[in-house]
Subunit: 296 residues, 6 copies
């Protein structure tokens, strides 16, 4: 009798995870996790609630992608919930994330992260870089995120790309869609051979992808690469961005290329500004396409 | 004295109907009606309140279309209010709608429907097909709506296009903008010769229209063919859709073609998600253009 | 066939009027009308959309009042829609309203108004005072509305009670719940023998009602007499007001007294600030109780 | 290494359940479950999303109740997630719920339900009544919920109290706070000896409780017993209700009485109308107090 | 005269200021001012609160434009706050604005206005035309704004472009993006040699700009030239507009041309409809680009 | 030192000001300042935007209090804008606030603070305690705020009352309206002779005030002492609070007592949750009453 009930419990739990996530960790190819941190944000906080809301609305998704002609059943991904992070303590939070990812990588899982503010990508990328020494970063964002510090604070949501660029070499970092940053950031990128495509994403991406053929790549997407019309639910909206259609096409371009995606994340969804739940719904569809296109 | 007051009452009633609607049924070319039903919706309900809100915001419309160089005064359409539907009973609601449309058609009125969920289009299309035996369907939507049933329920908002396709033959149904559905639905369409344009609307429509020249056509538009950026106020948002500009151009392409539009509807506007009233305003403008372009 | 359809049209129209409103003007005891004007408002406009929204949500009302043990079927009231008002022109709008009410009164209808800003009550009260020379005004509001002018403008939403008080004599005006106004307004009221109950409504009302026994009374309710917690959807929120429960009890106190209510209104519902539709729903219930309690 | 990670997974899952819920079913005293159904609602749907949102905001709760001087650690309750319900099929949904509760009761767990629409309480109460033959129902609500059917449909959110009253005898049902219903419902209750306290809750409850001393009691709370000011996030708001403070006091009155609470639920939280997340937050606190006060 | 104006500046300084605005009036090249007027609006008012909200969100802007490779520090602009306008009195408000601008122009400041409704641009353009006798107007808008009057009122938000066109000659006025207006307005424009680009902005602008080389130009932007997806926070949303990306490109096209911008404004931002603060954020970025691109 | 502070005032003056604030610092009795900090908040951040929004809506206030029969002109208060705080750095922010208050006190100004999170009150109270050695604290709040630390962090919004209680002695601190906290916090208060009135405010306050006659008192009000119905716009809503009416009465009770108010603040207004601007409007009225009642 209890067996039957518990079986039903297992089904029931499916409401709390990303749609169609695999029931067990052991045989999963990829692991989804939330990083509910937003404590270094300068403008409008709230992205700590992003991962849970993305899971909640994922029940509205179809399981089949007509773009990729593939169904979620064809990939095994385990939704491990949110990483418990020490509230307000950025350094310890980043340490927790790094250790967590190290374990995933040791178990040969592809890490699939949901933010939280963009700084959470830094320890993930560091851990991934420790495993793959030819790693390249593909970065979609409205912002450079190349600051050394923000108002004296080296742990800031404005710094993660600078940190990874210095860690693996700026020539291995490719940013797309950038339309906001300090003059110094753009100059630093230029002087150090880092790739920045201002304003545009799909066309320059198609030019870059062949040069990365065969390499291991980590992809980090700040949802604000989208125009605010397409993603109002984020902290730092900045008009002049790309459409969701173009971002989907960019995901599919990577899927069709010869790069090897070894991890990825989608960050900065902030439900409190997402008055029609549009951004959470879009994020859940983007994740479906990334999983179907990149986890092979 | 009372005459004067009652005249004023008549004017006053104009606030409750679609802008510039004709005062009498008898000499109207077209009849607008709401179908306030949303009881088979799987994700986010609320479209039952769509028709009233579209009427309310229509007062903000100009009466002239610079696209078509035509004014609302040049068409006679009567706004008959919402069809009273038995709450929660899908079958009886559909029966009521079908009988209603049969009456309109017997009186040689062009039916102009406002949803409500998409299932309401099924009895309308069935009634129209009974009158015009060469009928073709033009369908704008994010979703295939080709399911046989949804979770065991044959009356579902996911099924209307399947029903009409089986009724008049799949080769007479043309879907545009589709970006969501089950693998089986896409396969059924392909195997049965139904036209599906994935993702795109305007270009494939321009290719299809000449092949329909001279035929009687019913057009059904699910507002979610638009990207959520353009229509947040609907139950099942799905990013990657077209812009309102492209949908307007598609309406105008039909207006400029040689098809004979014998009825049309616009469904799935759900005010509760429409935080800035954007979707209702857009729906009212789309209706103006459909009326001016299609009722000749 | 068409007869049947038109009958259905009549039913359908019921969605556009206050719930259970009587189908014909001639034999109605009371007439409901909207006064969609907000052009003299100083702080936050939007009440012009109030009457339509109150009608829309009235479909959620039960037809029976357990407070009064009476059903809407027991009263005949005709919903005449909104009075067409010349946008932006306060004087002409007020003239239109006054003529409209004169006609209603000549036909022996009880006027039941929905605002719109509070200034619309002034021409109504003036017309009512012309018919009943013993008229008293019962006024529920957060604000005195006793200004002579507002920033040089004698037609302002801050002035209607001053106007009627000067017209019928301040001793015949009874204000309740007042918690906002200029010092001069309170002083003028005191010096001229007008009744003002500051902050409180129900207790002082119970003391006043016996002194009005047998008199003809017009009741004007500004929804902002309620605390913002109970009526966020209004232009000028002012905390410290009464609860909806107390306002209901006050309506019932009048119903149980010996005054003769010859007209009434409910004004200043502004849907754009009414994020959960609470205020419109509350207004529709208040109107039900006023109709059931006061139209005998 | 993996052990450590999995332990962290367990912690992480705590973000998806009601705060401080016990990790295992076997030794839990009570079981929390969601019933995400809203398909028979007549006015404004959306309560199907209530249970998940209540869990989400429960992280903002303190674990200690200064009202009861008790901490959540002192009670063992297991959050089993949402019961998977067949969308749109009311009868099968109710059957699923009934079987689910039967299992819980067979395992001697106290059922703690979160709605969903009020109809979900019917199969729960039926299952509980099968176990406890002296069962009494305490019911807090704005609405009688005593209809035999709604527009011809016997499975409606307006009927659950009628069903249980007929099942266990109207004399065993005690309703409080009722301020809305059809005349026939109030009359049926009166004629059949059912207890209805109109408008008020705490005072009549205090009178009733001693008469129930020693009996097994199921408590069902429709959140709309609260005034809309205190619970805007529900489908059918109805002004004139009680405050959250009074509802808390009522919960504490039951806790301090001699009744034996054998199950309870809180229903009709609808996040889409809950613009400031007030209702979900309030619901989570009410649940904390019910658990601390009633699970002994 | 200037004393009086400067005194008003001090008062006005009670508004918060646009990011990085210069601390002193005397040595500023440009002066930013708000025109918080919305009293002639026919549809949805609220733009009076626009200027303050644009300033508030401007703190989220980067100070550097990667489009123009220029920083805000390179331009001296003084934010003078909102012009105090006599509420509800359109004529006196316009007179106040005209005098204000005359003083600015006498001091050789470039006027940078924030609306408020579009009618506020009329006295500004008149004052600018008095100084530059070769003045041309570049106008971005969804609406023609060419009415002679609106419902009998010559001071209406539908009239400013007609007024300036008659004042400086229709051949000197260039409108772009127009998609709404009366038939008569389009005809008047055509008959009088005024330039109207229907629907499109960037391409026709690029054709027009060379013909204006060397001329003094005033640019007036109604935010509703953007599609509602990009600017929901405005009174009269009208779908089918351009993207923020295209508007940015249009601003940059003017910056790169040989016209001499002698003043400009951005009007019709209405925060109450701007549920995610998207429109205010976009307006503040547009202003940054206009200042950096046009104040040389 | 004052030069530096005044320079900061000039900078700060970039904020709009509270209605009727005095134009000069020198002869002001009281100084209003914002403390836009929310970086130690555990649940929902956003109060950093509170002070500006309170100023913005204060234009809707009447200048006269019918409660106190006093006008704002009778008090001289200078609005110095927001204190510039180093983002994300709690310790430096608190140091800045403390120095700022020390300067105000040296100039014999009464400090009137607007938060921001509650932690900002700690350095203010410390500075005030340094001046008045008989200082008592009156504290209105839903939460004890008596933690020693929060998740290892001694600078947390849960700690300010503990800090001041340890600084001036727990017996000098009087908390009212408390309904949330850890068991340890309530115990610590009891063991150390600190006054805590659970749940209630006005009645216990009236008992306490006579015992404080003649003493210097600082009053700190967390807006969440109000029920969420009355103040949805705050981070940590907690139902069961008092009404705005009771809080007004409590302010007036202090005004009518023999205590000497030497400083006060109102904290935790968070506009992003304040969907109808109710909380900001209420906060601005509360401040008016505090200024009129307490600055003599």
């Amino acid at each position: 009798m209890k067996e039957e009930l518990l079986m039903r419990f297992d089904e029931a739990y499916s409401g709390n995870v990303f749609i169609k996530s695999h029931p067990t960790y052991e045989d999963a190819q990829a692991v989804i996790y939330g990083m509910p941190m937003d404590w270094t944000v300068s403008y409008r906080p709230g992205s700590r609630f992003g991962p849970q809301r993305i899971r909640e609305v994922s029940i509205g998704l179809e399981e089949y992608s007509p773009y990729l002609d593939r169904e979620l059943d064809e990939v095994k991904y385990f939704d491990a919930g949110d990483i418990p992070l020490p509230f307000g303590n950025a350094q310890r939070s980043l340490d927790e994330i790094e250790k967590y990812i190290q374990t995933l990588l040791a178990d040969n899982k592809i890490p699939v992260g949901m933010g939280g503010e963009h700084l959470v990508s830094w320890p993930v990328m560091k851990a991934v870089a420790a495993k793959y020494n030819d790693l390249a970063i593909i970065h979609f964002d409205a912002h450079t995120d190349l600051r050394v510090e923000y108002e004296g604070e080296p742990l800031s949501h404005s710094t993660p790309i600078r940190k990874i660029a210095e860690h693996i070499g700026p020539k291995n970092v490719y940013s797309f869609g950038i339309r906001s940053g300090m003059k110094e950031e753009f100059e630093w990128a230029k002087e150090n051979g880092m790739h920045i495509s201002k304003f545009e994403v799909l066309e320059p991406l198609k030019e870059v992808l062949p040069t990365l053929a065969g390499r291991n790549v980590y992809v980090t997407i700040d949802i604000d690469v989208l125009d605010p019309a397409h993603a109002p639910g984020t902290g730092t909206v900045d008009c002049g961005g790309i459409t969701a259609k173009e971002l989907l096409a960019s995901i599919h371009a990577i899927a069709g290329s010869d790069v090897n995606v070894v991890g990825f994340d989608l960050v900065e969804v902030a439900p409190i500004y997402d008055s029609s739940e549009m951004t959470a719904n879009t994020a859940s569809k983007l994740l479906r396409e990334m999983i179907l296109g990149w986890v092979k």
